[in-house]
Structure formats: C-alpha cells, structure tokens
Amino acid sequence: MNSEQQMNKMRAALVDHKRPPHPNGFATSLAFTWRALLKIKYVPEQLLDVTFFPVMFTLMFTYLFGGALAGSTTDYLQFLIPGILVQTVVFTTVYTGVSLNEDISKGTFDRFRSMPIWGPSPLVGALLADTVRYTLASIIVIILGLILGFRPAGSVLGVVAGIMLVLIFSFSLSWVFTMLGLILQTTKAVMGISMTLLFPVTFASNIFVDPATMPGWLRAFVNINPVSILTTSLRQLMGGQVNGMQIIWVLVVSAVLILIFAPVTMYLYRNKR
C-alpha cells in the first residue's frame, strides 16, 4: 500500500465506474437470502436446531407417550407427525429473531440501512433464507416419520401442500420474533421471551393429544389456537382431505400476523438507534 503503484491501482479502482441501475426490492431481498445461506456454509451448527430437535422430539413423544396415548406407537405416529412438524417449524422461527438481534448488535445493519435499497429487504431476505431452514426441518420430520411407520393417506401432493401451509404460517409468525429481536437488548432475552411465548402456544394445542379430555376453558383456548387450526389442516391435507375453511383460516391468521407485526418491525428497524 505504500508504493506509488498501489496508490495508482486504487485510484484506478475508484474512478467513476458506470453505475448499474438500482435493483428492485425482490433482487435486494434475494441478495440478503444469499448472505444468510452463506452463513450456514460457515457455521453449519446453525442447522442443529432444525435437525436434532425434531428427531429428538419425534422419538421422545412417539416412544414415551405414544403407547399410553393412542394404544400403540404406530397409531400415535399417524396423529403425531403432522403435529410435530408444526411444532418443529414453529420453534425454529425463534432463531430468526435471535439471529437478527445478533446481526444488529454488530453494526452491519447500519451500512444496509444507509444504502439506497428497499428498506425491508434485509429482513425479508433473512426470512426467506429461514424458509429454507423450515423446509429442511419439514423434510427431516417427514422422512423420520416414514421410517418409523407414518403412512399418510393423502397423496404426495397433500403432504407437499401441508408443508407449504406450514411455511406460510411460519414466515408470518417470524415477524413476531423479528420484532422481539429489535426490541430486546440481548440474544438471551430474545431466546427466553420467545420460548416463554411459544411453549404454551404449542403445548396448549392439539399437537400431542386430542383436546377432548381437557377441561372446558382449556379446550376453548386450544380450539381457537392458530397452531391447532394449522395442525388440523395439516392432518387433513396429509390424510387426503381438503377442508377449504380450515386452510382459509390459516391464511387469514398468517395475513393478520404480517399486517400487524411487519409494519411494527419495520418501524422499529428504521428508527433503531
């Protein structure tokens, strides 16, 4: 760098290049997706939560409770797999908030925020990359289920449609955690609060057991819990039935989540000091 040559090289690299046209919001979001996926390449441990977690939960619930709950583990699997898929993916959404919080604390986002790009693209890009993780988690659960004896009555199409529905819901739910990621100071706090929110929402649902034996007040909550509605839709889709109303409800909940939490998240993101 001390030599005159190096300085000339630098001047040459800095003289006006023709500036490419501004990319649209979709292109910039995809650039951020690319960034997030590169990180998986360097830190493959990131995938632990979408690989080990679902495997552990599926095995645990199937063999610990399956017999007691449904008479046999094979019977329970038919009930559990769609539910455990929902649970796994819903839990994975927490990491969206955690990694955003980490990212922001490092100052990288200051640069992105001062660039002439579509404002939400760093967040949308990160969420799209997370969708890749959710897909991976879904595939692992389904494959493990098939190995253990899950035999969905619906076609491959039904299973794929079910997974798509889970992805849509999770993408929408992620905005809650991006919001928390922006409000809270530390990743630990994001993790703690998100888990506190998710445990009741996933366990007070029809993922693990039929709510028929629950007390009335709890059953009322379980029945309106979006996670239950999603799980029911999934069971139906994988079981070869299509219940339009259920699916529409899932989409409505997803839309409402985005409509509320995406603008709040964006507001916080833009005004973050």
């Binding site: 090289k9 490419p20 990288t108 640069r111 790009i117």
Partner: protein, 331 residues
Amino acid sequence: MKNVMNQKDQSLAIEAADLVKRFGKHRAVDGINLAIPQGTVYGFLGPNGAGKTTTMKMLATLLKPDGGTAKIFGHDLFKEQDAVRACVSLTGQFASVDEDLSGTENLMLIARLMGYTRRDSKERAAELLDAFDLQDAAKRQVKKYSGGMRRRLDIAASMVVRPKLLFLDEPTTGLDPRSRNQIWDIVRALVSTGTTVLLTTQYLDEADQLADRIAVIDHGKIIAEGTSSELKASVGTGILHVRLIDAAARAEAQQLLSTTLGTSVHLSSDPLALSAQLSDTDNAAKALTMLSDHQIRVSEFSLGQPSLDEVFLTLTGKPAEDSPQKEGASK
C-alpha cells in the same frame, strides 16, 4: 437572491442548520451548523460522547434529528432520504462488514445490492480487494482479519459504487501505526478522485493530517471551527512538555516555569510531568537553563503540537472527558 442561494447549495456537500438530537433528557447533539464544500475532507474532533457519531448518523439517514434542517448535495435530509442514500456511504466505528463471510463475499453482497449482476459483482470485488491490498485474504473469513485489514475492507465496501460523500467514523481508532498510515493513504486517494469525506476522530494528529477543516465538538456543540493551523494558533504556537526524574521537585518546577514562561503551567496526571503553552518558543531554552540552575533534573524536555486534551483545555478550560452517556447509545 434566490439564484445566488441555489448556486451556493450546489457547491456544498453538507449544509446543516441547528441540528438537534435528544436521547431522553440528554441533548447528544445540541444545535450543530455545518457548511462543508464538495471535494474536501472535514473532521469532527472530540472525545467519546461528544456527539460526533450521532451527528454523522443523522446525516447518513440512520437517526432522525429532533430539530434543525440539513441538505446533502442539495437533497433534503427529511424529504429525500433515497436521494441522500444514493450519494452517501457509511463506514462505522465498529466495522460494518460481516465477520462470518469472506472478503470477496462481503464486497459481492454490497455490489449485488447496488445492482451488479453476479458475474460483475465478483469482478468488482476482485478489483477492489486488489486495490486495497487484500487479494491474499479474499477467501478468508473477515473474523480472521487484523484490525487494519478489516477497516480497509470496510472502506472498500463503501467504494463498490464510489459515493459522493463518505462518512468515516473513527477510521483508525485501535489500529497500529502502520495500518493507520495505510488508512490515511486511502483517504487521500479517495479525495483525489473527488469524494467528499466527513471523518470523526479523537486524534488531533489525524485531523491535522487529513482534514481541510476541523470542527471541535464537545457536549453536542461545535466549540471551535477552522483549518488545523487556525485551531492550533488559537491554542498557542507550541506546547512544552517536561518530565522530571524526581516527582518531589514538581511543585518547584511548576513555580519556576510559570515565572520564566509567563504562562500557567499545567500538571499532568503523570506525577512526573508538566506542560505549558508557549507564546514564544524562544522561552523554552530559558526554561531549561532555569531548571538546571536549580538542580531540577529532567528526563524529557520537548516542544510539541498541542494534543486534543490541550486544545480542549484551552477552548473549554477543562480537559477532554469521556461523557458518561455512551455516544449514540450505539447498539
């Protein structure tokens, strides 16, 4: 009249009037006015917490001012944020590059966000890495870079599309002298290609080396403004630094020096050291003679540039202190 105003606007990179930013009750930036001509380097000099970074963040559209107006190349900071963002780039105090990615990947990301195709972005990244002497580290993760390399990559990232205005927040804080010189060379090269630079620094030396004009900032206000020689002139022609061998002799030395030099003598936090401003450098020789006549032994005796601390002492009557409020609560 209006025409004259417009012409004036166009020659200025930054024009700000009465910028204010409050964090709760604390006025981090308290009425800052700026008129920075295009193609120059402007330095913000001040201690931590003075409001330098906060002002910079407001001008880079990262923080919303609570009061005042500002124009960047004639674009209103409030109404034309996209136009402002299209001509500025920010290099943060904490390197704003992605530690987990390699040098190439960092630059490619910025290039793609600027609209380059995948292939062109790769080419541009390679060109910049070469220009900033990082070609050997192209594939290495940034977390394995040294501080100087990281800072160079950070600046390179700002140069993917050369901005009209570059914000450099404490570009050399924490760097070794060699890396610091490299960064200085880079800033000079940038300016020679026409980029306007606004930099913050805690070192008078750095502002002196790089900046055409300097604003000294304290408690959110500009307390002095001018070229570095103007500022130094206001502080005095030189500063005499004396370091004794025996701390017990300091009181006597202070007495002697202040009578000989005819100015007040400042006691440093170092129990052996004293410093005084000189209006006339010839007096230094007399002072040395006087000390040796009184058998006060001296380990160091030097005439030097005033430090930031001394500039502050003169301008504010108190040494530069870190404000308890962390600057910009930088998160």
